[in-house]
Every structure is written in structure tokens, then in C-alpha cells.
């Protein structure tokens, strides 16, 4: 241990069929590394919500996952439309998803709240018209 391990993923635009592939891959890798199942679950859920958001709102993007001895860090970087009102977007139930997204069972406005719930630290850096960078950390200590 001691060395940081990094995984990188590209999330494609509009690829609803593939949404979740990056999160599933991270889940399997963390499991194989022997990370506590409850921590793996938090990472998988938080990252999947972010991945789906990228597909729905941001024309895809890049995800970098870093595992160090203390925590798992996920950086989700997109060049989408940005979030005009982050506070509003964090409210459970607030959604700007269209009917197509809703017909698939998403778009209930639970994504960001769920990302917050499943991470120990979340930072949202967004500029309308430029993109959004979300950094989430899940502690490896105290399962």
C-alpha cells in the first residue's frame, strides 16, 4: 500500500445504455482490492449518480477515481451547461430532466442529494456555460 491507484473513464454523451459501466467497473476493482463492501457501495452509488447526470445533462465527461490509503476520491469533470443554482439543485425533488429521462425511471431530483449522502466530502465547482467539476471523497477509515 502507500501508492495511489488511479482509474480514468470517459462517459459518452447520450449513452443511456452504457450509463453505469464506469461505476460497475470501479465497484469490481475496489471489491477485488478488498475494500469494505459498505464503502464500495457508497462509492458505486455516488459515482453512478454522477455518471447518469453527465449523460442526462452534460454531453458526457471524464471521471477520475483515485484510491489512496485514506480515501477514495472521484473527480467528475464535464464541459456541459453548468448548474445555475447549486443550492436549488441540491434540494431533493428538484429536477430539470426531460420526459424521456423520466420515462426511464430517472429524473426524480434525487441525484445530487444522493451523491452528498453517499460521500464524506463533496465539492461542486460549476460555471454556467462552461461546465461542472464535482469532487467526492469517501473515507476508507471507519466502515
Amino acid at each position: 500500500m502507500g501508492e495511489n491507484i488511479e482509474f480514468k473513464y470517459t462517459v459518452e454523451n447520450g449513452e443511456f445504455q452504457r450509463a453505469g459501466e464506469a461505476s460497475s467497473d470501479v465497484k469490481q476493482k475496489l471489491k477485488a482490492m478488498g475494500v469494505d463492501p459498505s464503502i464500495v457501495r457508497k462509492v458505486a452509488i455516488a459515482m453512478y449518480e454522477g455518471e447518469v447526470n453527465m449523460v442526462i445533462h452534460a454531453n458526457g465527461g471524464e471521471i477520475t477515481v483515485t484510491v489512496d490509503p485514506d480515501k477514495i476520491k472521484m473527480v467528475l469533470d464535464d464541459v456541459g451547461p453548468g448548474i445555475p443554482d447549486v443550492e436549488k439543485a441540491m434540494e431533493p425533488g428538484f429536477s430539470t430532466a426531460d420526459d424521456n429521462v423520466r420515462s426511464l425511471g430517472f429524473g426524480a431530483g434525487m441525484g445530487l442529494p444522493n451523491m452528498k449522502k453517499n460521500s464524506d466530502n463533496i465539492n461542486i465547482d460549476t460555471t454556467p456555460g462552461k461546465g461542472t467539476k464535482i469532487t467526492m471523497e469517501v473515507d476508507l477509515k471507519e466502515a
Binding site: 443511456f16 453505469g20 461505476s23 464500495v40 458505486a44 449518480e49
Partner: protein, 109 residues
């Protein structure tokens, strides 16, 4: 009750036998809105839903559900079935509505 015990009871049709049928089933969880399921489905749950698309499989995998049951004979499309096989998720099917399906599982736990 383990997943393979539930399969053996023959209450439901087996759509896909997953890779970890030796797992203990925890709570029974009913929900069709994936947004909610993603936040609320407990690990090791038996998830009963009528939503059978590929994203259902992603949610089942990532929330670590023990078994997925499609109520009302809801169909699993090909992409979703392939995903179930690929991820080793056990998927069962029931002709009954969600409540009755969940109750059957609950009563056998």
C-alpha cells in the same frame, strides 16, 4: 433465506441465475422509480419492480441487491438480460402485482 433457497421454492420463474446465489436475502424492497431505488434500496435486498430496462440492472448491481424480481410479468429487454448475465445478477419473474410478489417473498423469509 438465501437466494438459491428462494429459487428452489419455485414461486417465481427464473430469468437469470446470478453468480452469487449463496447470498442471504435481507429486506424486501419495492420501488419502480430508479432515482429513488438508487438512494433507498438496502444492500442484499430482494428488489421487486416492474421496471425492466438496462438501468434497472445497473441500479441492482450498484446498490448490491441480492435478487431482482420483475412483477406483473414485466419483460426484461435483451440489453438488460445481457447485463444481468454479465454482472451475475439473479433475476426472477412473477405474474403477480408488486405487493403480492413482495409478500410472497416476505412470508418465506
Amino acid at each position: 433465506m438465501k437466494v438459491n433457497d428462494l429459487i428452489k421454492k419455485d414461486l417465481f420463474k427464473v430469468i437469470n441465475e446470478g453468480s452469487d446465489t449463496d447470498r442471504e436475502i435481507g429486506k424486501v424492497f419495492c420501488c419502480d422509480l430508479l432515482s429513488i431505488a438508487m438512494g433507498k434500496a438496502p444492500a442484499a435486498c430482494c428488489w421487486v419492480t416492474v421496471m425492466g430496462n438496462i438501468n434497472t440492472l445497473a441500479v441492482a448491481t450498484l446498490t448490491d441487491a441480492a435478487v431482482l424480481i420483475l412483477a406483473e410479468n414485466a419483460a426484461l429487454d435483451d440489453a438488460a438480460l445481457n447485463k444481468a448475465k454479465e454482472q451475475g445478477v439473479t433475476v426472477l419473474s412473477s405474474a403477480d402485482p408488486i405487493f403480492d410478489t413482495a409478500l410472497k417473498v416476505y412470508e418465506s423469509l
